[in-house]
């Protein structure tokens, strides 16, 4: 491990990361009588503001340029292969006659699933008053938006004749016929459209106070105008904060059922059909658990390097990462439970074709994909039972990559195995992707990372205003503890933060 660290150390050299170095502090110790500090180090409002704004204000580092240019060139694949697809038609993909849903749908479900962690962190953890969300929610919400952009691209190109993609929307076609509202595919358009819009509003609204901070610190005229316009003239007025906080709470309360509904509706695309292996009632909760699982893994994949590069180890602390690892382990086991329940129900239900579908899934022509899925999703997060492992940066990064891979394969297994071997044996076939499939998948990753790199560079990476609130509470708690331990020397609790 030490040697590995040494070999990898050049990529995190300070000259590449803009000199941002901060020591790793272990704040994961559990103590029943005091709360773990969520922001470590000697930080106050001033240092937090300087640190987070510094990411945007300082010159981009070589590391950032390298990452951005790499991601941007991978994004270029979309520019080549999407026109290629539209020009030549879906024959450029590997889809064949039983398997009409190939990579496009697999990727769509994969990306929508990743998007779920952001709203979970920002809305559900907000309602549960989990203060540790404040350090990670901005980046996670950004990730959500970008993942949903990647997801939204796939149905648009999957329709084959992309110029008819507007048929998905409630608009009359050339025969003045409206979409069929009894179809889950139309529900999906509404669910994903609403999800994108609400996530965007939530993200933007949360950013207004931080954009105002950037506006007030801006030196350059372009920045002054841009951040000035984006922050809408926010003055941090308490009368505004009052309405703002209420609005934020309401948005969180609205986003919570929304995030649960979106992947449920995505699962209806499968569950409402009659294909063996799809037609199961467990799908909605199973999909939601999987979505949260994959989303947290992607947050981990992004934040572990980001906190290192931007020197944010005292804001996104080991405690935050450990908490996320616990959620990854929990949802990983939920997903594993769902896998086993599918098998149980197939056996218990006594429907022959259903039984076959599941045995075929695990031992048929796609057994390799099934076991990749199981080992990545069910086995690999089990390592987090050990505290040493779930607080180890390298272990969690590797596991998060495994989970990303495993969750992609989960969607592949669900989509492809059921279609390739359904009712009529004479129609069975084997699906394998073609070049365009793979390149469009890669291109989607390019799009995702390009957007994320731009976000890091131009928008506040940490929800500063919320972290300041956490710092104030931390200072109050500290003052209270001091007061209790030494009542004579009790000074007035300094809530300056």
């Amino acid at each position: 491990m030490k040697r590995l660290l040494e070999t990898l150390s050049p990529i995190v050299r300070p000259e590449l990361t803009g000199g941002a170095e901060s020591p790793e502090i272990d704040n994961t110790a559990y103590s029943p009588d005091s709360r773990t500090p969520l922001i470590t180090g000697d930080n106050d409002n001033t240092t937090i503001t300087d640190k987070v704004c510094g990411i945007v204000e300082n010159k981009p580092t070589i590391g950032w340029w390298g990452f951005f240019l790499l991601a941007f060139s991978v994004l270029g694949l979309l520019g080549v292969f999407i026109p290629f697809l539209i020009f030549w038609g879906v024959g450029t993909w590997g889809v064949n006659n039983p398997v009409g849903w190939g990579y496009a749908i697999v990727n769509f479900v994969f990306w929508v699933g990743i998007g779920h962690a952001g709203t979970l962190i920002s809305a559900i953890l907000f309602l549960f008053r989990q203060k540790w969300r404040t350090s990670i929610n901005r980046a996670a919400e950004a990730m959500t938006i970008f993942a949903v952009i990647c997801a939204g691209m796939f149905p648009g190109i999957h329709v084959g004749r992309a110029w008819f993609a507007y048929w998905m929307f409630p608009l009359p076609n050339q025969m003045e016929l409206w979409p069929n509202f009894r179809s889950p595919l139309v529900w999906d358009v509404f669910a994903v459209g609403t999800y994108f819009t609400v996530s965007l509003l939530f993200w933007y609204m949360g950013m207004i106070p931080d954009l105002a901070t950037l506006r007030d610190r801006a030196k350059h005229a372009v920045r002054k105008v841009a951040y000035g316009a984006l922050s809408l003239g926010w003055t941090g007025s308490n009368r505004q904060w009052h309405v703002y906080e209420r609005s934020y709470l309401l948005l969180a309360a609205l986003a919570t059922p929304l995030v649960l509904s979106v992947h449920s509706v995505v699962s209806f695309d499968f569950a409402v059909s009659q294909i063996p292996g799809w037609h199961t009632t467990i799908f909605p909760p199973y999909f939601v658990a999987g979505a949260i699982f994959s989303g947290f893994a992607m947050v981990m994949t992004l934040l572990v390097p980001a906190r290192q590069f931007f020197g944010l180890k005292d804001v996104i602390t080991l405690k935050h990462l450990e908490n996320m690892n616990k959620i990854i382990m929990l949802t990983g086991m939920l997903v594993g439970y769902a896998y086993s329940q599918e098998f149980f129900m197939a056996w218990y239900g006594g429907v022959k074709v259903e039984k076959f579908a599941f045995i075929n899934r695990a031992f048929g022509q796609y057994a390799w994909a099934y076991w990749i899925m199981v080992s990545c999703n069910v086995l690999s997060p089990q390592i987090f039972w050990f505290k040493k492992m779930r607080t180890n940066i390298w272990v969690m990064f590797v596991v998060s990559i495994f989970v990303n891979i495993g969750m992609w394969f989960e969607r592949f297994v669900i989509t492809v195995t059921s279609l390739a071997n359904e009712f009529t044996t004479s129609a069975w076939d084997y699906y394998s992707p073609k070049l365009a499939d793979v390149m469009i998948l890669l291109g989607a990753f390019g799009l995702f990372f390009t957007l994320f790199a731009l976000f890091c560079r131009f928008l506040p990476f940490i929800a500063m205003s919320e972290v300041r609130g956490v710092l104030a509470e931390q200072a109050q708690a500290k003052a209270r503890a001091q007061q209790q331990s030494s009542p004579e020397s009790a000074a007035k609790p300094a809530a300056e933060s």
């Binding site: 106050d44 409002n45 069929n180 009894r182 007030d216 941090g236 009368r239 309405v243 703002y244 300041r468």
Partner: protein, 196 residues
């Protein structure tokens, strides 16, 4: 262009050089801590000011009570948005599939509530969220890109690490001398007057 001058009582005046007949439009008082601001806010509230505000880099708990801010109307606006979304979602589906172009699929009814719930639910959330965001902007008077506050260099830290009280020039009790004395007594570390 701005010109600044210090008067004898420690109050800075910031005037726009282009102003022909400068009048005070705003007073700003700076505080270093949230606790200091909280006490001062209670003091300003008790004097009976109406058009005044506190500016903080994060929502300070307890400040609403110290200022006497009344609960907002926003939840009712959001409720209306939700009703609009839900009924609009149902009506849209019924009208499109059963009235404008009756669309028969597998002998199912043209319109039925259960099949319409997912879309109606999403529309409820969508319009509630629009109402929540739009209502927040409306009630807060945003966007409003120019404010006299922005003339003050000191006020730039209101979004980072300083706390401010502002008193609007249109308040009936607005008076530069007595108000600045009040704010200084309440512990302000600096008091500024913005003229336009």
């Amino acid at each position: 262009m701005e010109s600044q001058m210090n008067s004898s009582n420690g109050v800075e005046t910031i005037t726009a050089e282009t102003a022909i007949d400068p009048k005070p439009v705003l007073m700003l008082a700076e505080f270093a801590t949230a606790d200091g601001l909280m006490e001062a806010a209670a003091g300003v509230r008790d004097k009976g000011f109406k058009l005044w505000d506190c500016h903080t880099p994060y929502p300070v708990h307890g400040l609403d009570a110290a200022m006497g801010v009344k609960p907002t109307l926003l939840p009712w606006i959001v409720l209306c948005g939700g009703f609009f979304g839900f009924s609009g979602g149902l009506l849209m589906q019924g009208w499109m599939n059963a009235i404008d172009y009756p669309f028969l699929i597998s002998g199912k009814p043209f319109f039925s509530i259960p099949a319409s719930i997912p879309v109606a639910f999403e529309m409820t959330i969508l319009f509630s969220a629009f109402a929540s965001f739009g209502g927040m902007l409306l009630l807060n008077g945003l966007p409003r890109l120019y404010r006299p506050h922005f003339r003050s260099d000191r006020f730039r830290r209101a979004t980072a690490d300083r706390f401010f009280i502002s008193i609007d020039g249109r308040d009936r009790q607005f008076d530069v001398d007595s108000n600045s004395r009040l704010l200084q007594e309440l512990g302000a570390s600096a008091v500024e007057v913005i003229e336009e």
